[in-house]
Amino acid sequence: MSEAFKMDEAQPRLLDETGQGLIGEPLDRPEGRLKVTGQARYSAEYAPERMVHGVLVRATITRGRVTGFDDSAAQALPGYLGLFHGPRFIRNPAQGMADEAPCQPGESIDYHGQPVALVVAESFETARDAAARIVVHYDEAPGAPVAPDTGEIEENEKRKSVQGDLEAAMAGAAAVVDAEYTTAGHAAAAMEPHAAIAEWRDGRLLMHGSLQMIRFNKNELADALGVSPEAVRILAPYVGGGFGSKLGISSEHVSAALAARALERPVRVVMSRQTVFDAVLRRTETWQRLRLGADKDGRLTAIGHEDRVSNLEGEGFAEPVSAATRFLYSAPNRLIRQHISRNHRTPSGSVRAPGEAVGMFALETAMDELAEKLGLDPVELRLRNIPERHPVTGQAYTARALAESLREGAKRFGWDQRPETGSRREGEWLIGMGMAGAGRSNMLVPSAARVTLSRDGALVETDMTDIGTGSYAILGQIAGEMLGLPIDKVAVHLADSDLPGASGSGGSFGASSSGSSVFLAARKIREILAQRLGCKPEELKVSGGEVSGGGTRAKLADLLPEPISAEAKIEKGKTAESHFSAGFGAHFVEVAVSEVSGEIRVRRMLGVFGIGRVLNEKTARSQAVGGMVWGVGSALHEELGHDPRTGHIVTRDLANYHIPAHADIPRDMEVVFLPERDDQANPIQSKGIGELGISGSGAAVINAVHNATGLRLRHFPATPDKVLAGWADGR
């Protein structure tokens, strides 16, 4: 049986009544044993019989057409099996939730490093050698714009939002900030390179693919290949990180499937690390202008946030830089605008917290500057500007822990010990504290799951993925909590496209969306158990193999002559119109800045968050800390550099693109989740946490640098050269 549920009204907090003691508990990940012993198999780690190896051939021009391939030098290699290309090849990965094939450009080249063909050979070593021997002939169209200020600039009308009169409010304000900021492009750089093994069995494609959103990916791949979705099965039980980079299908999937069909052999294609940088969607660089005006009491009268991002012509995605600016603080006069530069860099797409991750650098460092101008504590400035209703849409907020997070964080961190700017020193190190607000919108995305209860326990089945996020853990906990089972009696099967289609992992909506579908399926089973026992569903108690309610009692096994299976699908409903749901919080950071080298070291961080019901305290904490570390990375280290002639990414490996390492991150990374239930978000009252940690954390680092040094850094990453230049400019 199947239930379709729309989130039209708040639901009873059933998970507070079930009393099994599983939900929220910091349980170990059930798949952890496999991960630490090397037994968890990722996409490249299957070895079907007769498998051969593919290596992508990529464009060495920025714009133009391929006029031909010459593989005669490769033909000489024993084990060379052929060169594959053609109209079904894709230009770049599908954007998140595209649900259809991305651009299939034919001979067209639109960026340096674009995959144009696949070489296949009996061994990886031969394929790699052969790929280097392929000569590609081009008709180059020189002069392609490859910098954001040289291409065509168009306004993104969808993002435009004007309320009141910003200019007039700025002119009349007691204190103003009007500054420009830039953030570098970022790479998701998941540790597992993009990988695919394609195998055709009786006309049906079996794809082991490192992917985040199987329900969408199946349709994307089918569309790209020109087959029906039923002819595609995708498996991705373990995914070595995604962060947005595996939302949509990419070249390795399509090329492997095409070659496998032609060769009638399984084909494996794994991107080299450099290909991952060149040919997977990056986070755009941004230019931003942030304007704030306030009255003398620190009440905002004006917020203006203008930005420029870049993407290739035809790509529908534009980083929503001002996302948090729309909902975090009140101000009667508002202006939000976005421009998109159309250029020929590697196309851009979603990377962890698209929007907030970069937009909050400007908003939250500007708030710090405004607080200084007003002589107000930055925590207090934020407390004075918490809106009653969503400032743009007028919606009511759901549970919102912004004020509590600010107060609780200040107390726990020892914010009252914050030194006067530039006053605390330990040898060559200047010490400072900074803070920022946190906000990340929360969504409910259609998601389905099946739960089966038998005498042996429960089985959860959905095509939801676990990309390190903890899906295996939390979905088991929800089912166990609802059905009165200990956690070792719940099995969770994920990431098989033949299972009910889930939201997938993205946008921090995975846990709540897929968790809700598991909850609803289990609730359906509870209703059947209540019926069999003869009580009302709300009276039902299930625990320790016993079922009771309405004065009667039975053994669970006796109510299960045959297993009960229920499927449920959730989608958003009226509460998403009446209410605005987001995770909120506050970041606090202490840094040390070397007066000698300009090096910035993070000494401790605290994040206080309200994320509705916490489903597993341990995996939630890991997600939060992960986000906070990403904030450090984007504040201090991470930068995609581009060759000014070709647009080609030059920081295209893990030596040149510096993601935080152990030595960059302190042990003292504290996370506090405030008790909260978000009744309008979904029936399990939870919210996402995967992206809230990065939303604002980088700004808190930069604000701490200001407190330590007096410098206002506005161009990120704030590498030591920028610190030294800031001092040279006049300290």
Binding site: D28, R29, E31, G32, R33, L34, K35, V36, T37, G38, Q39, A40, R41, Y42, A44, E45, A47, S123, F124, E125, D129, A188, A189, A190, M191, E192, P193, Y238, G240, G241, G242, F243, V270, S272, R273, I467, G468, T469, G470, K618, T619, R621, S622, Q623, V625, G626, M628, V629, D653, L654, A655, I659, P660, A661, H662, A663, I665, R667, D668, M669
Partner: protein, 173 residues
């Protein structure tokens, strides 16, 4: 070329293309996929294994250079049913998320603790000759060749620190 390797205590003879890295020999020719390929350039540490007790990036070494060597991979430390102390602590501390860098972190930590026990100093050691106390700064420094994009760093170091304390206790007893 024909070589013989001792992998996790089992002797294996392989006939390999000279271009095959130790990493690909393990993953593709011996089915030991616990050792991960993250960058193939010695930049991320996901492929860390022990060769004759010392940690190396298996991607930077050709298999044919290791004829007769003893190689230890994550599969040689424990099994899902019987994890070793370090593996247990990684699970308990949530010292991972996606799990892809995890075998490398665990192998690197294993090699690192042995180096420290032998008195090898690091960049942050107070003394070049006195034995190093494996505090958090030492562990962070010595583990910085192992990247984790999920950023489980604090929890990885907590796991290593706990396993090290347990080892030290056992050593004293």
């Amino acid at each position: 070329m024909k070589i013989t390797l001792d992998v996790n205590g089992v002797e294996k003879t392989l006939d390999l293309d000279a271009r095959v890295t130790l990493l690909d020999a393990l993953r593709d020719h011996m089915g030991l996929t616990g050792t991960k390929k993250g960058c193939d350039h010695g930049q991320c540490g996901a492929c860390t294994v022990l060769v004759d007790g010392r940690r190396i990036n298996a991607c930077l070494s050709l298999a044919v250079m290791h004829d007769g060597d003893q190689v230890t991979t994550v599969e040689g430390l424990g099994t899902p049913e019987e994890m070793n102390t370090l593996q247990r602590e990684f699970v308990s501390c949530d010292g991972y998320q996606c799990g892809y860098c995890t075998p490398g972190q665990i192998m690197s930590a294993t090699g690192m603790m042995a180096e420290a026990a032998e008195g090898a100093p690091s960049h942050v050691s107070e003394s070049l000759t006195a034995p190093a106390d494996l505090d958090d700064a030492e562990i962070a420094e010595r583990m910085s060749g192992n990247l984790c994009r999920c950023s489980a760093y604090p929890f990885i170091r907590e796991a290593i620190s706990r396993a090290h304390a347990a080892q030290t206790r056992e050593g004293r007893e």
